[in-house]
Symmetry: C2
Subunit: 596 residues, 2 copies
Amino acid sequence: MSTYKAPLADLRFALYDVLGVEKQFAELGYAEASRDIVDAVLDEAARFTEAVLAPLNAIGDQIGCKFDKDTGDVTAPPGFKQAFDQFVEGGWTGLTNAPEFGGQGMPEVLGAALTEMVDAANLAWGNFPMLSHGAIEALNRYGEDWQKEAFLRPLVEGRWTGTMCLTEPHAGTDLGLLKTRAEPNGDGSHSITGTKIFITCGEHDLAPNIVHLVLARLPDAPPGPKGISLFVTPKFKVGKDGAMGERNALRCGSIEHKMGIHGSVTCVMNFDGAQGWLVGEAHKGLQAMFVMMNSARLGVGLQGLGLSERAYQNALHYARERLQTRSLSGPKFPDKPADPIIVHPDVRRMLLSIKSLVEGGRLLSLHAYSQLDAAHHATDAAVREQADTLVGFLTPIAKACQTEWSIENTYNALQCFGGHGYIAEHGMEQLARDARITTLYEGTTGIQSLDLIGRKTAVSQGAGLKLFLGMVDAFVKQHEGDAALAEFVGPLQAKAAEWAQLTTGILQRAAKNPEELGAASTDYLFYSGYVVLAYWWARSVAAANASSQSAAFKQAKLETARFYFARILPRTLAHKAAIEAGAEPLMAMDAERFGD
Amino acid sequence: MSTYKAPLADLRFALYDVLGVEKQFAELGYAEASRDIVDAVLDEAARFTEAVLAPLNAIGDQIGCKFDKDTGDVTAPPGFKQAFDQFVEGGWTGLTNAPEFGGQGMPEVLGAALTEMVDAANLAWGNFPMLSHGAIEALNRYGEDWQKEAFLRPLVEGRWTGTMCLTEPHAGTDLGLLKTRAEPNGDGSHSITGTKIFITCGEHDLAPNIVHLVLARLPDAPPGPKGISLFVTPKFKVGKDGAMGERNALRCGSIEHKMGIHGSVTCVMNFDGAQGWLVGEAHKGLQAMFVMMNSARLGVGLQGLGLSERAYQNALHYARERLQTRSLSGPKFPDKPADPIIVHPDVRRMLLSIKSLVEGGRLLSLHAYSQLDAAHHATDAAVREQADTLVGFLTPIAKACQTEWSIENTYNALQCFGGHGYIAEHGMEQLARDARITTLYEGTTGIQSLDLIGRKTAVSQGAGLKLFLGMVDAFVKQHEGDAALAEFVGPLQAKAAEWAQLTTGILQRAAKNPEELGAASTDYLFYSGYVVLAYWWARSVAAANASSQSAAFKQAKLETARFYFARILPRTLAHKAAIEAGAEPLMAMDAERFGD
């Protein structure tokens, strides 16, 4: 069984020493978020996730969720409900939500630290609160006042949970194709009819009511994505007085058998004239959906990060314990029958790959969340807008890179175990199976990549990239002539310039042939992710040097940064070459010629 | 459920048009291997694997092997035994074995084509004959005459199956640590006592007897790897007369719960004074083990290839059928509600990545097997030795690259399905789980990489590389001035020169610091694999042009080659940079500083 210990030291380093959240929280008016309180929250989150959630991770995988065909009920794995009750009692569900609806009003970046720990401890369990979080965001932004009281408050307080009901069998990425209908009932409510699939936590026994946010078409809806509206459609009807009434006309039709996240139920949901209430404007459902989706995308990025962290801890432990063969440069532990495998350079290559992607990735995600806080709470409107642009730019990178890296990281961690990694009892293969969903849901890596190069770059004339390059530039200027950082600052500056050039090149080619965007998209996303991490590694070394961390901590940051620049950043060379090869090698082949 | 159709057209192209096996078979004296016969074998193998094995693939995964704790018996999934009986009746088990022991004496390269189809159709099932193949190789080379009659013949005829019993809990890669003992019985046999783990097909109901080839230590054995001997140790005792007698003192103690290949049983085998017979010389067991192992390594390479081929077929089918969003350059099928996703460049990128690695990889493996045929059957001793050197050099590349690519290929194929790929019913997630074992067993990728840069390069002064570069050189010379090939010949020539230089650089650094070998190993292996495939892609285009294949076939080869050179080969840039960064970034960190 794999184990988990919350990486508090590195979380604190990231928050305080690198991102400087103490100053930011004060500027943004988070009066409650003093260092004492934040530290206490982190400590308590660590205790809860290590003691309560982590031990349920293997059980959730082995037993999974049970579906009762006759009643449509779903039973979560043993212990999941009790853990959720404790989570609710601890006030965790509302950590970052508005106090007027029962939340604690803490910064999103602190919520992100909690979410990383939750997902590392138990990814499948973590989906229950994550889906609520998306529903909360949408209701908070677009809900009417009575809807906020009736639905938002119980979600924030954790009494109920939420879902996002978007996908239909023929409509996944392409929501414009969806068929679910909403007919006005005459009393302000609508009757929702249709079938939704892939509904995470669509039915379960963790809470007495489940608040589904459902995309559907009104009778007068124009075809395509501009005819979609959003409806809040609870499992048990809720009137304008907020009272929970009779069972609504919706139920879970079946649950999916999946590669992993067995503890997180994936439902087919049948709506059969269920009472739903319009959220926001008619036909503007996609806008509201994107509010949920963006929150979920950053959240899935944290899932990748959490899995990678847990994979690393277990691989490192094994690499120090497992004795097998001798170092090529002579025995390191001559008194033992063999050396621990961590002496071997190739095992170190795997471990350092994970470590550098995890610690760098942590900053990528936490920084994005800190910008979310600025986007919501900065006093200056221009600062809010800039922060919002930056979050939008970083979201597809954080979502896709962290999840793709979680595939690589769980691969490498399992590989450190040799054949033992393939055996269920060590828990490494569960991490690999669980990781596999993260590059698929809430938009595949391909969709994130198109979002990055399309909406977040081409459409916005590179506004997000410019802001990030501005950060790089400021850092470079700040540390010009700093001998301790020269080995990083120079290469970072060169990569940043290359990134700008590469972007311009793609956009110029795309002006003539729009397929160039798609052709470049995924390689461009990875390229961007690696340069972003180079920035965070350079900043990590600078921040460590300037901090009161121990000499060993500083040395480890320095050595990991060196590894990253020497061994990971060169991947940009391959991505750049692939991008510059353009669309022709992808588009030339007629669909027929791909094979029989 | 995923489907499978044997890729006969590409197999024939590889064998006849690229490798020119007709000429080779004639030169090596394979009188039976006429084109008619070979074609008939391929057709029949396709029929058998498609109709009998492929439909059992999902069943094997869902039901798995059952272990009876009380008896130690293992029951294979439903249909597995019947399929094995048909395989035996068809004479497939002895296809490439010597006629004097019941085999059909066909070339190994034809056996490889069969194995690819078997593994694509049903990887877990394919392990039963594969393990026998290794045992056959060892007995054929090192067995005494009576052992060949008593053990080899029933294995060749498929009446019994074989295993390799190497690993112990504390001795995986490092077999020198193994503890299993062999005590002489005085009658020429030995009593074998010890516990072996990870024994693929160690116990099952497919055949009445199982022939275990067991590594153990004789009483007078020196410590370490030079004190290991090999013993043939059957489930039911076999005397020198070949008669099957009473149950031997060995049994399966438990079976492993694994991420995948559920239909292939992985046993803990307890030997409790079991009767075994020494195979080959005392204390020279590792030599014999390597004969089994090399056969198994090339075989595992084919497993990777087979999985990748099947993954491709299913992803391609889905990409042509699934309608979702419109092409960025405007609707391609305006009469349909959306375009099939194969119009999107990023979906094409994934499909072409798989296609180019599969078709190129097929040549990598089949060529290695054709050199195995030459190593065994060439009339000229120098040719035999060269071929043997080349097989040795190509084996770690074929094993590790094909299996690593199978991870990538099953990843990309699943990704084409979006969320549907994560659901068991489509069968794509099984392919990904099954693929995950291939980079672990019969030596992890790290071990293959060390074998390549160490024994197969540094120790042998690059003999294998020189032979391969000689092939490249001959091809380049042959096609100098061929305008149709110029786009490939130039880059191939440059990469080959770079490969030679890179190798020299590593060996020079390693002369000062042996850790440089390990530090370069895995990146060097991938680098080598990509250059090898560049050679095969260039040769594929040349061979297609010179063949009587259809214009569409030639065009597809040309376009896939272009994709490979534009989009895959640039990965060498990243691997080269990582190699040239040297050992320092890997070795600097003290084991303590990796984390808590």
